[in-house]
Amino acid sequence: MSPQVAGQLELLGQVLISGILLGGLYSLIGLGMSLIMGVMKIINLAHGELMMVAMYITFWAFTLAMIDPYVSLLIVFPLMFLLGVSVQKFLLTPVMEADTVLPQNQVLLTVGLGLVLSNLALLLFTANYRSVPVSYASKTIYWDLKLGGQTISLSFSYPFLLAFGIAGVLGASLFLFLAKTDTGRMIRATAQDKRAAALMGINTKRITYITFGLGAALVGAAGALLDPVYYLYPQIGGPFTNKAFVITILGGLGDIPGAVLGGLVLGLAESLGSVYISLGYKDAFGFIIFVLVLIFMPRGLLGRGRA
């Protein structure tokens, strides 16, 4: 094998690794959004801002108490769950009950919520860029492959690998929770037909609290996992809300395995596209796939979402 071919193989290998690892994180961001969309049929425009809040919790836990970001998941998850429940209970549910021309009031409310959260962070924590300087931030595991007399050297980022693993565990737990527990079944029933679920004696109000809480906790976990490899500042949320949209629609609204697949597809599309097509259009590939999926597979990649 010639060195050129080996070089190209190394490039392809590295691009695939990056895409899949990043896709794991994206999946976690998309899961929360998908859950909320599935049950409440609303788009949460404060999704990225919720992630921002979680990132600040992780940051302060590390800065003030030296709590490792992965350990702080144990704090972030319940705190974000509570935040999500309160948002649903005190803001979204009252709005939902009002009789309106358009059902979009809750979405607008999340716009207001996003503004409040990001500007509160600006006032409380200043606009400074922060990072969580863990010792293993750029720790890398190398894997040298011998192929036809050439060495192909692939690298795996340690924090990305960990994030991928944790995202996988969380995704699987969520799936099991929805499939096997009573509460999980009630959530799925509410997603399918809220009125029917209520008639069956399900307290759908309570279910929406839990759903929004879970959604916030999941995107919060993504924020905590992102902290060691990224940075944070008050306005960081916006672009991630967009990513969450794309992932959710790719997977089909409210389809949990679909959202995981959507995240992976987005990660791969971005990394492959940026290398083999054009870096400038990197963020467009997700959207283009999204529109193509809409045209040809309107029920999501797995064909199970509700069109």
Binding site: S18, L122, A127, Y129, S131, T140, S155, Y231, P234, Q235
Partner: protein, 400 residues
């Protein structure tokens, strides 16, 4: 649901409307200068730093008695980084508050919008950080720029190339913004003219999480130099991920901004070592007051200023100097005095000249810095260097 109370809202609105009228009445004896800055939105960090630097300079100037016995005051207003808001602010400054001079703004877009308004009303405007070439290429008579235009940020780097690096190949990655595009364009033009082979030149969307795919592509092209223009934290991610991929050019060189921020050292940590960057200023420059500014700022605000801070600080001194020389505090006299500025500041010498397409543009040498032992050191030009450059940089795996 709670019962709606529309009357309260109406009362609040009326109250707020009443308050807006108040500043028109309260014009004291101090001389006020209008300063639009982004204090919210994505550029808030820089707006905040500049605000602090302006206020620091003003305290110093006023402590020494102000200008001709008049105290200076700043009317700093938040533009949120939006051109139409910046326009609104400056329309108000000029036509309602009647300020005879405008200073500031941060981004190129907003600086350009403000410049257009200032030119229309013939009120002098001192641009402090907006770097796009076009701002001083319109032949406008009221627009003066303290910082060099983006296309000249690289002068020091070019000089370093000719004397030391002599690269044959280069890969260019730049942020898809006005600043990134124009800085990298200047680099590309230089390389084409001097026989440096540009093996890759691509723009990226700021704020990406993972640059490894494109960096791996750069790696497969084996360039001598990897040149990057990043405004913000992308700089540290690019370096960290280059290290992870074991990408080893002879040097990583940044185009200023992101690679010169104090946050770069913290976030990139050991991956920042030996990274070079074009810069307008470092705390080690020999200009009078530079080091004092750096130390005082750090003490006062508990954070290190970068060149944006010193630009604002110097702008306040240029303003005071101009007012001192102005015959009266009218726009015409201030403009005349501003045009004749020839002074030394903590940022460097300031003199507004016109050449080529540029008018009223401060011309200055730019420097090259390098991270050595996790500190920014000035390494080029040789005279005035605070440390010797390390070139080529050792490979990542050979470092301890």
């Amino acid at each position: 649901m709670t019962k709606p109370r529309p009357m309260q809202l109406v009362t609040l609105t009326l109250l707020a409307l009443g308050l807006t009228a108040a500043p028109l009445l309260a014009q004291g004896k101090t001389f006020k200068v209008g300063v639009p800055l982004p204090l919210t939105g994505a550029e808030a960090k820089f707006g905040e730093m500049e605000k602090q630097a302006y206020e620091m300079a003003l305290d110093e100037i006023n402590a020494k008695g102000g200008v001709k016995g008049t105290k200076l005051a700043l009317d700093i207003q938040d533009s949120g980084g939006k051109p139409e808001t910046a326009t609104a602010i400056v329309e108000k400054f000029i036509t309602i508050d009647k300020y005879p001079i405008v200073v500031g703004e941060y981004s190129s877009q907003c600086s350009y919008a403000v410049a257009g308004v200032a030119e229309k009303y013939k009120v002098p405007y001192l641009v402090v950080t907006g770097a796009a070439d076009k701002i001083t290429q319109q032949g406008w008579k009221n627009v003066y720029r303290l910082n060099p235009p983006a296309s000249l940020y690289n002068l020091g780097v070019f000089n370093f190339f000719e004397n030391v690096a002599k690269p044959k190949t280069i890969a260019i990655l730049y942020e898809n913004t006005d600043f990134g595009t124009s800085t990298s364009k200047a680099m590309k033009e230089y390389c084409d003219a001097h026989g440096v082979n540009v093996v890759l030149s691509e723009g990226y969307q700021a704020g990406g999480v993972d640059f490894k795919p494109i960096l791996q592509k750069v790696k497969s092209l084996r360039p001598d130099i990897v040149y990057m223009v990043s405004y913000l934290m992308d700089a540290s991610l690019l370096m960290r991920q280059s290290k992870e991929l074991d990408l080893n050019p002879q040097a990583f060189i940044g185009g200023g901004a992101g690679h010169t921020l104090p946050e770069f050292l913290q976030n990139a940590a050991e991956a920042s070592e030996y990274c070079m960057s074009a810069t307008l200023w470092t705390p080690q420059v020999k200009y009078p007051g530079a080091k004092e500014f750096f130390d005082n700022f750090k003490k006062k605000f508990d954070k290190e200023p970068d060149y944006h801070g010193v630009e604002a600080y110097a702008a306040a001194y240029v303003l005071a100097d101009t007012l001192k020389r102005a015959k009266s505090f009218t726009a015409d006299d201030i403009r005349t005095a501003l045009a004749e500025t020839n002074m030394m500041t903590a940022f460097g010498p300031v003199k507004f000249v016109s050449w080529g397409q540029f008018t009223n543009q401060n011309r200055m040498d730019t420097l090259v810095l390098q991270v050595i032992n996790r500190k920014f050191e000035t390494v080029w030009p040789k005279e005035g260097a605070s440390a010797k450059y390390v070139f080529p940089a050792p490979h990542w795996r050979d470092r301890k």
